[in-house]
């Protein structure tokens, strides 16, 4: 037994030594990180300021508002569980708006009530039923995710309770005839064309490989991106499966096709090892992913290969508004604004503006949002008949020195 282990151990050591020795001259230079990739990297500089519309509606209003002491708006979304961070980002944004409103309007103290759905489409209906049964609640922020939004839209509709989602992007959510559902950002259908424009425009790609995973999100996004890219990506397509870690065949195809850019429609769990394996095999172009890939986890898991990565996202870089960022830290306990914090802030501001205008019930607030047509900090808010924004913006990001930074709007 001891002998078995000793033999195996010695052999393994010998094997490694022999093989690595065979390429000593080569491996010794492996230390210079970033030796690949940077040569052909397109220059899309970081943008550190975010222009705010001069007439952006602030939660404080004119300070003269009066309302009943019981006036309440609700936040419903994940506050615990694996995906809680997104919900917390939104809640803190909404809480900041309510705090600023209440500080400025002594005669109108609006309460923000929190409901935790855990982001679970199975649990959300019960929670939302509870929300709509509280008659003091006249408007809602949420729900953050597409799955739970799908499961609960009908409950809001039945109760006539208006709600704004700051982050759910599945296009089908506005195709259910719900009159209470409003989306405060662009859906997945606008991200694909924007990504295509980014790839062929700012990034100057003449040839793109589009790789999709097997999720609804990835398939839908790849389709809209491909439709917009047309011939640029016609010859280089691949599909992978959730959970896949070995991308040899995909990498070989991409290397042989020599594209300027790879667009990956999926999430970071597969995107990170894919990018890492591409760069390891000598891929020199850029790697572009959607909001499902835009996460610090991507950088952690792809290692320094992530330096070639760009992201598209309908999310505003709220951390770039210094005033907002500073005030936000007071609510979040020091944490900087995260993805969808500013959308949460804007969504709450719209509901508060309705309350300040003298609205006291659900039906009137719903009409207020339906006819709303003003600038917010993140974008202009005006909805079409289905609850989609009339005009939406997609924002570009890139990895720079191990961090995700903003590079400007892309569509």
């Amino acid at each position: 037994m001891a002998r078995a282990r000793r033999i195996a151990v010695i052999a393994g050591a010998a094997a490694l030594a022999v093989v690595l020795a065979g390429c000593a001259a080569n491996t010794s230079s492996s230390g210079d990180s970033g030796s690949g990739g940077s040569a052909t990297k397109v220059d899309v500089p970081e943008v550190t300021n975010l222009p705010v519309p001069p007439n952006a509606v602030k939660p404080a209003g004119n300070g003269q508002a009066t309302c009943a002491a019981t006036t309440t708006i609700a936040f419903a979304g994940a506050l615990s569980g694996a995906n809680a961070q997104l919900g917390i980002n939104i809640l803190n944004g909404a809480q900041l708006a309510v705090n600023q409103h209440n500080a400025a309007n002594a005669n109108c103290q609006v309460q923000l009530k929190k409901f935790d759905t855990e982001g679970d489409p199975g649990k959300a209906p019960g929670i939302v039923t509870q929300v709509v049964s509280e008659t003091d609640i006249i408007g809602g922020i949420g729900l953050p995710f597409s799955g739970e939004s799908k499961a609960t839209g009908a409950i809001f509709e039945q109760a006539g309770l208006v709600h704004l989602t700051p982050s759910a992007t599945n296009p089908t959510l506005t195709q259910n005839g719900w009159t209470t559902f409003f989306r405060a950002l662009g859906n997945d259908n606008v991200q694909g064309p924007a990504a295509a424009k980014f790839l062929t425009g700012k990034l100057g790609a003449k040839k793109v490989c589009v790789i999709q995973d097997d999720s609804d999100y990835g398939i839908g996004l790849a389709k809209t991106t491909n439709d917009a890219l047309g011939a640029v990506a016609a010859d280089c397509q691949d599909k992978i499966t959730t959970g896949q870690k070995d991308f040899s065949s995909v990498v070989n195809k991409v290397i042989a096709a020599k594209p300027d850019a790879v667009f990956y429609a999926g999430y970071y769990a597969e995107g990170a090892p894919l990018d890492q394996q591409l760069v390891t095999k000598g891929y020199q172009g850029v790697f572009v992913g959607p909001d499902g890939v835009k996460d610090d986890k991507f950088i952690q898991q792809a290692g320094d290969a992530s330096n070639n990565a760009f992201f598209t996202c309908p999310c505003v870089p709220g951390e770039l508004l210094p005033e907002f960022a500073d005030a936000y830290k007071g609510v979040s306990g020091g944490q900087a604004p995260g993805t969808y914090s500013l959308e949460g802030y804007d969504s709450a501001t719209i509901l508060l503006a309705g309350i300040d205008s003298g609205i006291k019930d659900r039906a009137a607030l719903k009409d207020f949002v339906k006819n709303y047509d003003k600038d917010g900090f993140s974008k202009h808010f005006k909805w079409d008949g289905t609850g989609e924004l009339a005009a939406t913006t997609v924002y570009g990001y890139k990895v720079q020195a191990g961090k995700i930074v903003y590079v400007g709007t892309i569509g």
């Binding site: 195996a8 050591a13 870690k245 070989n252 090892p273 890492q276 986890k297 952690q300």
Partner: protein, 335 residues
């Protein structure tokens, strides 16, 4: 060019088509990558095949033995300062670190395998439990370890630990073989030859084969059956630990609570393909499964075909040779 060379099945559905030009042009690259990944399958498959050969037990928890090894690799390398970029180490220092990580992984995975045998399987054997009880215990142990790791480390994979940036070593007519592929393939083959020789030539190995052939007679002849069983699990665990190092070398962010699951199923399939219970069969099956998946992905145009093709080939081969390509030979006298 791609339009002409892509042959779409006449009147066939549009979701299935053959890209023969790509298959031909990427044949050698796919073969080399497939062999490197297949070598990892083969090392893991050894654990399945040896335990089956001796106990006729399919140790479904072996994939978790493997992932425990991968965690050991991660923690060792992270402690040695490896991180998101390849460290600028001299060659001897790099080899030293990798060997150390492999030893720790072998130790961790080996201990895990022995512990598994002691806690999960031995009590059942003592009580002469039916085979079904072993099977469900194996599946249960697999989930138990997986979710213990989940509770400990969470759902996200560990950050990448990059060992070295592969350098091209051979360039044969545009087909590049890099140092990573060579390291994995050669080291895995050497390890498997050693185990094969150990089983076939040493006294302990003879005992192992004796128990595989006929446990009762072997016991009467003075072979310590319990010791042989522990030895079998230990060797399987050690090889899984080595496989973990090579896996993390190839997939630096692959250390995740359920990261062994799919690989374990593939490795088990490799063992069956080559002939379960057969050490050389595990090697052959692993390498075959590695390359067939890549061929299928390129031939059918995308990587979602990897498992379809690999498992269709598995079924086809089992139809012709129900005991696998090389047959179940650990327990046969001819070894």
């Amino acid at each position: 060019m791609p339009v002409i060379s892509t042959i779409v099945l006449a009147q066939g559905p549009d979701w299935i088509k053959f890209d023969i030009a790509a298959f031909v042009s990427q044949f050698w690259n796919n073969t080399i990558d497939g062999l490197a990944y297949g070598a990892i399958y083969a090392l893991v498959a050894m654990g399945y095949t040896m335990v089956y050969g001796v106990l006729q037990l399919i140790n479904f928890a072996h994939s978790e033995v493997f992932i425990v090894g991968a965690y050991a690799v991660f923690f060792t390398l992270a402690a040695l300062g490896f991180g998101p970029s390849a460290p600028g180490l001299s060659l001897p220092a790099l080899v030293g670190d990798l060997v150390l990580a492999m030893l720790v992984a072998m130790l961790a995975a080996g201990l895990m395998a022995v512990l598994l045998e002691r806690v999960a399987y031995r009590p059942l054997r003592r009580r002469n439990a039916p085979r079904l009880a072993f099977l469900i215990t194996a599946i249960g142990a697999s989930f138990a370890i997986q979710y213990a790791l989940f509770a400990w480390r969470g759902a996200n994979p560990e950050p990448a630990v990059i060992m070295f940036r592969p350098q091209p070593v051979f360039d044969i007519g545009g087909v590049i073989i890099d140092s990573q592929q060579i390291t994995i393939f050669v080291a895995a083959i050497i390890l498997m030859i050693i185990v094969d020789q150990f089983v076939n030539r040493t006294r302990l190995g003879r005992g192992l084969r004796a128990v595989a052939q006929d446990p009762d007679t072997a016991t009467l002849m003075g072979v310590n059956k319990e010791r042989v069983i522990v030895l079998t699990f230990l060797i399987g665990g050690i090889l899984a630990g080595a496989a973990a190092l090579f896996y993390v070398m190839k997939v630096p962010a692959g250390v995740q609570f359920n990261g062994g699951f799919i690989l374990g199923i593939k490795a088990f399939a490799a063992a069956v393909l080559g002939g379960i219970g057969n050490i050389r069969g595990a090697l052959l099956g692993g390498l075959l499964l590695g390359v067939i998946g890549n061929y299928g992905a390129t031939l059918f145009g995308n990587a979602q075909w990897i498992d379809v093709v690999a498992f269709v080939v598995l079924v086809a081969i089992l139809m012709v040779r129900p005991t696998g390509i090389l047959g179940e030979s650990l327990g046969r006298a001819r070894v």
